[in-house]
């Protein structure tokens, strides 16, 4: 990490800087997921609960792309953020289910 050679003139090739390629692939994937999601709804005459499940799965995949690649969660040293966010997600699911059931059952 801290091996620092001359950084100024040549654009530091010997560091392991990640290129944009991986992120462009992630971007293309999230675009495809978005496209599929909209297409299922616009062109869809499949049954509703199937579409719901499909949409939720695609949303979760998008989040994995965003948080894993773009918020660097897949990099090492991110255990604490992952635990924190998962706790938040757990609370949210509890709230959503509770609100749904408390309001209408």
């Amino acid at each position: 990490m801290s091996n620092h050679t001359t950084h100024s003139e040549e654009p530091a090739k010997r560091h392991k800087h990640e290129g944009p390629k991986k992120h462009i692939i992630a971007y293309v994937f999230s675009m495809l997921l978005t496209l599929v999601a909209f297409a299922t709804v616009i062109g869809g005459e499949i049954n509703t609960s199937f579409i719901y499940i499909l949409l939720i799965i695609m949303a979760i995949m998008q989040v994995i792309i965003q948080m894993g690649f773009w918020m660097h969660m897949k990099d090492r040293g991110h255990l604490f953020p992952i635990v924190g966010i998962l706790t938040g997600v757990f609370v949210v699911f509890t709230i959503v289910i509770m609100a749904e059931f408390w309001t209408w059952w």
């Binding site: 100024s8 992120h23 978005t34 909209f38 989040v63 965003q66 966010i85 949210v92 309001t103 209408w104």
Partner: protein
């Protein structure tokens, strides 16, 4: 640009993690995002519970939503997420100018998104879908409006950071701020993914 004076080989590889304060800022920001998750979770649960409570003669989500606008807004926001990644990558390479430019692109895309959202809300209002029309409309505007407010805050925040980096250069003090703003922007995008899925697409399906 004055910023270049800091780049004479002195800035570490990941300047946002170079100091304890920087690392603490990133960690603290994750905790904040956990709280934000819960905030949006409660708004989502309110919306999900109330989205069919339209009342007599008021527009339903199927009648109201125009997916074209939402699709364009989604593309804009996803693209801005990519440009903010490019900004952080440029920062890691020590290219301050490129970082600034990518941040400007991000801000412009954020403004475009906001413009679309304002246009959309005005349309809905004209179609009789106002804040107090029904439980559906109240929970809709609260959820989507809260997200829009977050985008607006992000736009202001990143704009101020661009100014600060321009004046003070990229240092171990300013780098964590830019990094954290990038995280915030991705989080806004994550929330939007759920909004377009749960609010718009599921609303259109019925």
């Amino acid at each position: 640009m004055s910023a270049h004076s800091h780049l004479d080989g002195k800035l570490p590889h990941e300047p946002e993690r170079a100091t304890l304060e920087g690392r603490n800022k990133v960690l603290g920001f994750w905790l904040f995002l956990g709280g934000e998750t819960v905030l949006f979770g409660t708004l989502f649960s309110a919306f999900l519970a109330l989205r069919d409570q339209v009342g007599d003669g008021n527009p339903t989500s199927q009648e109201l939503f125009k997916l074209a606008t939402v699709a364009i807004a989604t593309v804009i926001l996803l693209t801005s997420s990519l440009t903010s990644v490019f900004a952080i990558q440029a920062m890691h390479r020590g290219q301050v100018k490129a970082m600034q430019n990518w941040l400007i692109v991000t801000v412009v895309l954020g403004l475009a998104f906001l413009g679309l959202e304002v246009y959309e809300f005005i349309e809905y209002t004209h179609e009789g879908h106002q804040f107090s029309t029904s439980a559906f409309s109240s929970s809709f505007y609260t959820l989507v409006g809260f997200h829009g407010a977050h985008v607006a805050l992000g736009v202001v925040w990143i704009s101020l950071l661009i100014g600060q980096v321009y004046r003070k250069g990229l240092t171990v003090v300013t780098a964590p701020k830019v990094y954290v703003a990038g995280m915030y922007w991705h989080f806004i995008d994550v929330v939007w993914v759920f909004i377009f899925t749960v609010v718009y697409l599921m609303g259109k399906v019925g």
